[in-house]
Amino acid sequence: MLRYITKIREISERLLKEGKVDMVIGFRKGTMPMMNEPCFINKPEGVDSLVWDSNCGINLANYLTDRKEKIAVIAKGCDSRNIVTHIIENKVKRDQLFIVGVPCKGMIDRHKIASMFEEEIIEVAEEGNIVIVKSAAFEKRLEKSEVLQENCAVCIHRNPVIYDELVAEPVKEQTETDRYKDVRRIEEMQVEEKNNFFDNLLSPCIRCYACRNACPLCYCPTCFVDESRPQWLGKSIDPIDIKTFHLLRAFHCAGRCTDCGACQRACPMGINVRIFTKKLEKDCFELYGWESGLSLEERPPLDTYKPDDPDLGI
């Protein structure tokens, strides 16, 4: 980790000094454990606050939207894929960016760790593949692989797909992962089971839109939930309105979502909202051979077609 941090600081300092960029977007230590925060550094002397560890799950592409200055951005695999999508969708220009690629070894799931302990966690540290969780009373050592974010556990694009400089040699990509196990589990359910599953899943939702706000894809000036001509979708926490919201939000991410996990990470109620986008990700892959954010040449699958696409029509 230390090597990563040194390199990130070194590159950032150089870029700022040489005036190549106006700003570096990276992570700094958060005030709460396991909650690193995005930070915006615009002076060479500020680079010392930049950090890197397994708590950098926030997708920094989200902070590039509609920016006009020259920016260096620290990007792990999923961030880089969202940057690609951002470039395709005119949210930022390639030549504005200096992408500092970080080969990623996965982020840890703060909800999961928090739920493992009754007491308040005051510090979380890392030693190689071991995560050390400390409270006032105890210190516990966990295997990182046991506490990875679910999306990181099945990630097959840990290395940035687009970058100007890498902070380290690429890591080995995971090849043995079963990416769609959870989707298949639902697909195999009967209709009633599916309904119960999703009703239960969404019952804690308070419709705070944290998932939407954390998502780099949700950059519309006005979200469909706020459409007023007519207001076809209720704004209440009626379960159907909530389900409709999640359904359509996911649909808007179809073929664009990189499974970065930002939505799930952001949810204060710990809802696995990825389960919606995951289904679409699976379908886009299986039906159209598409994985989002890998190519600057192609637009997402709903912006294009092939004459011999699979057909559900009668």
């Binding site: 389900k243 289904k279 696409d309």
Partner: protein
């Protein structure tokens, strides 16, 4: 509920499937009255919002029909629509809408018979499923 009749809303593209519906009429082909048609210029116009709103407001079935792939009056609209439909249908069925509530078909303006056949088929399928229970706002759910 022996007297129950499903409500089905059909979105038909102006150029092909609406023409087929017209032709079914010209040929006096009979099908049930459950289907109410909304004419749209092209299936490419079809937004998933309309499907969600139709279900939300109490439709028991939704049927979208356009020109055969390759026949679109606007050249490509139905190709794009096909991708949207496919992903959307898979998604809402993943969430527990019964397969058989949402239908897509391709019917050319010369296929009046096919239109009537599919109208019958869609109505029967939806009727067999019974009243819609999911994605429907509560007020209606109680009625059903």
């Amino acid at each position: 509920m022996p007297d129950w009749e499903p409500k089905i809303v059909a979105f038909l593209c102006n150029w092909c499937s609406y023409g087929a519906a017209d032709l079914a009429g010209i040929n006096r082909l009979q099908y049930p009255t459950n289907i109410k048609v909304i004419r749209i210029p092209c299936t490419g116009r079809m937004s998933p919002k309309f499907i969600l709103a139709a279900f939300g407001k109490g439709a028991d079935g939704v049927w979208v029909s356009g020109c055969h792939p390759g026949d679109c009056h606007y050249m490509e609209g139905n190709y794009y629509a096909r991708r949207k439909f496919t992903l959307f249908k898979n998604l809402i069925e993943h969430l527990g809408i019964e397969p058989g509530r949402l239908h897509f078909s391709w019917i050319s303006s010369a296929e009046g018979t096919r239109f009537a056949e599919i109208a019958n088929e869609v109505t029967k399928t939806v009727k067999d499923l019974g009243p819609s229970r999911h994605l429907i706002k509560k007020i209606n759910a109680k009625v059903a």
